[in-house]
Amino acid sequence: MSGARPNPVAEPVAQWRRWLVLGVLSLGAATVVGRAFQLQVLERDFLRQEGNKRHIRTMLIPAHRGAVTDRRGEPLALSAPVESLWAVPSALLDSPQHVTALAKLLNKNPRGFEKFLEQRKDRKFVYISDPLPPADAQRALSLKAPGVFSEPAYARYYPAGEVAGQLVGFCGRDGDGLEGIEKSQETLLSGKAGSRRVIRDRQGRVVDDTLESVAAASGKDVQLTIDLRIQYLAYRELKAAVAENKAKGGLIVVADSTTGEILAVASQPGFNPNNPPERRSSGTRNRAIVDSFEPGSTVKPLLVAQALELGVFQPTSMIDTNPGTYKVGALTVRDVHPQGVVDLAKMLAKSSNVGAAKVGLTIGPEAVWNGYQRFGLGEPVYSGFPGEVNPLLRHYSEWGQIATATASYGYGLSVNALHLVRAYAALANDGLMPHLRLVQNEQATPPQRAVSAQTARNVRKMLEGVVSPDGTGIRAAIPGYRVSAKTGTVRKVSETGGYHGDKHQSVFIGMVPAEHPRLVGLVMIDEPGAGAYYGGLVAGPVFSRVMQGAARQLQIPPDDMPPPPPRTMVQQPPAPIVQVAQHGSLPPPSPEQAR
């Protein structure tokens, strides 16, 4: 026992130390668990959101607006990328040399530009340029001016400019169609932007995009029935004629009479859709569709067609137009030149109002109204163009003797240019009236029969007399083609009621080639102010030039070729060779080559 020492290890520790250690440890554990609980359960949503905010981005997938093209695919309206520069004014103002350089690049006055920024110093976002082509924007960005950024966008361009301006229309600042085809085909043209959620790394690269996405739907292209070559020709000739005649305006329509496709529709005054300030001018009106006028003498062939169709008149019927005036109640119908006793063809060729009034009164108001109705003068054209004007053709029960007489030569009713084109297309198409179309691939509506084929042919034959030395429309003759046409000289309604003595609309409408027409064309010159105002003199030459060009470009064979010249000059090639005088040194190609 004496050698035994007390064991120091065996000294029992105080109980409290154990509890202390355990307590501290469990407190630590509880803290960790509690914090984990707080993060994982209580603040989970908030934290996840914050995390996503830092690396998950919703990216917009831009959708193109569709293009508008002509029937051959030439673009009439296109979206092209542009970049708009914007700046944080306070950041940019910190380096004055950049302000000056940037102002120079943007063609701005440096002093003015600085002032512009100063005024907006407390803003965080200021546009400092109009939409620029991407190359120009890159040049500005390469200055590396602080606080200058670019924002990509799409701008709408109209390559044909003024030529098809009123037809194609234009888009607003935010890319919605405001006028014309841009408006009417908005649902097809406009795309729907898509979006996708992606995970980005620190450098902003997309590393994962397995999250939800909405695909972008690009706008569809819209193909019009317009042929830009003919449209340009029509635009050019119309513009020249309006200037030459010092007219207030004018319009022209060329359509394919068999299919009802409109090949050209132009009106003056025009505007350039690429130049926004011009968009508020009256030039934006597509007068061929949104304006109506009284058709005047141009309805006489429709009246004659109805009279023939009813069998009341025959092509050989004679009408006494003596003495050049005709009293119907209080109204006196007058002819400019008394024609005596004429047949229907001569009545049309000379455009006798007396003759037309007599035909109208003979067949009666109901028949006149029915005839016009069958030629679609009382029905909208359904062109789909925004703002198409409705025709005004009062019901025959409201017509008295005077109204019947005036309606027979085209007063007291109003139509737009397309109505007349459609009615004449019926004559051209052997009595079948096509549905007029502006947009290709639109669901085709079957043509309606207006008159019998025989009647249509008879009237066409008569109308050839208009474009003859005896008729009112000889200035519209087209070499090589026979033309059926009608002139019209309409007095305008004055604001005070009644008709203007000196304000006219000169109308010319016709079809080419007369035997089997392919094209129908209408030219209207509004208020010609240079002396001449007869339809045949003012609008006729425009018709002739445009239709000749259109026939050439569509390769419509001539139907009135003179017999080939006698072969006495062996040197001269028999085939017609067109060459330019200055280049006459080239030998003319042989007939084989020319073919």
Partner: protein, 90 residues
Amino acid sequence: MKRGAMLLPMMLSIAVVTSALAVIRTKHENRALVNELEKLRGEQTRLDMEWAQLQLEEATLSHNARVDRLAREQLGMTEPRDYVIVGDRP
């Protein structure tokens, strides 16, 4: 018996490690491909832009009014109304 009992967990843990490595690799490849896709999309956008610009340029250069003017003024061409026969022989 004892060795056999260890074998299964060993194999499973090796499989777990292997599949973990495979996941890493796949994830990496995925990101690389996504990155490439993104680059190609950018390229596509750029080419679309260029195409629109070129179309616009072509339409501007081939505008009828411009061709008309050049033909008349620079090339001395005319638009004959009718058939015109021009020969170099009298």
